[in-house]
Subunit: 152 residues, 2 copies
C-alpha cells in the first residue's frame, strides 16, 4: 500500500515526491513547469521525472516570489543555471545575487517606511510629507498629487 518513494536514495523524483519535498501542491508544480521554472523529463509512459536539483530550483523560486519577483522574472533568473549538469555552488551564488540585492532593497525600504510612519504618527497626519497636510491652511495641496511617500 505504501509505495516506496520513488527516488529514495535514487536519482529521480516523481511529481508527488517533489511536492512532498517542497511543500508545493502537485498542480502548482505542473503550473511551474508550464511557466518554465523546471524542465522534468518523461518516462516512456509520459510521467514526469525530476532531478533532486529541482528541489533547489523551486526553493529558490519560492524565496524570490516572496520578494516580489514574478514567475517570468524567476524563470529568467533560473535560466542562468546550467540545464545539463547539476548546478554548482558558483552557479547558485551567481543566480542569487539579484535576489540578495532585492532582499536588501526591500529591507531598506521597510525601514524607511517604519521611520516615516513613526514620525508621522507623532502628529497624527499620516501624510508622510513633513506633516504638511496637517496644517490648517492645507498649503501642501498646491504641491501636486499625494502620498506614496513612505514607500519609494
Amino acid at each position: 500500500m505504501q509505495r516506496a518513494m520513488a527516488g529514495r536514495g535514487n536519482e529521480v523524483l516523481t511529481i508527488g515526491d517533489l511536492a512532498a519535498r517542497t511543500g508545493l501542491s502537485v498542480s502548482a508544480i505542473r503550473f511551474y513547469e508550464a511557466k518554465g521554472l523546471v524542465h522534468p523529463f518523461r518516462t516512456a509512459g509520459g510521467q514526469r521525472r525530476f532531478l533532486r536539483s529541482d528541489i533547489r530550483r523551486l526553493s529558490f523560486a519560492l524565496i524570490a516570489q516572496q520578494l516580489g519577483f514574478t514567475i517570468p522574472q524567476i524563470a529568467a533568473e533560473l535560466g542562468g543555471l546550467p540545464e545539463g549538469r547539476t548546478p554548482t555552488q558558483a552557479d547558485w551564488r551567481r543566480i542569487s545575487k539579484g535576489v540578495l540585492r532585492a532582499l536588501d532593497d526591500r529591507i531598506a525600504a521597510l525601514e524607511r517606511t517604519r521611520g516615516n510612519l513613526e514620525n508621522c504618527i507623532g502628529c497624527g497626519c499620516l501624510s508622510l510629507r513633513r506633516c504638511a497636510l496637517y496644517n490648517p491652511e492645507d498649503r501642501a495641496a498646491k504641491a501636486g498629487p499625494g502620498p506614496r511617500y513612505a514607500m519609494g
Copy 2:
C-alpha cells in the same frame, strides 16, 4: 473652464480632488468605497463628497497594502477609527500599532531569510535547513516536507 477645486480651503472634497491628493485613480477610490475603506456622503444629486480625513484613511490603506495587508484586513483596521468625528492623533496611533508590528515582523523575516540565504549559498544547497539536502545520502528526506524555512 478651470473649475475651482471643490473644497479648496473648504471642508469637503470631490472624488477627483481626493484622487489628486492621494495619487489614486478615481476608479480605485470608488472600488475602495465599495470595500468599506471610506464612507463618503452624497450630494442631493448623488455625487460623493469626502472629508479631508479620508486622505489619511487612504494613505494609511496604501501603506498597509504595501505591507501585505489585504483590503478586508485594512477595512477592519480602519473600522477602529471614529466615523463621526475627525480622528485624533491618539486614534491614529492606536490604529497604527498593528501596522508597525507587521512592519517589524516583516523586517525580521526578511533578515532571517537573508541570513539563511547567505549561509546556504555558501554550500550551494538552498535547502535552508542546515544544508541537510546537500548531503549525499539525502537523509533530510525523512524529516518531512520541504522548504519554506526561509520565510517563516
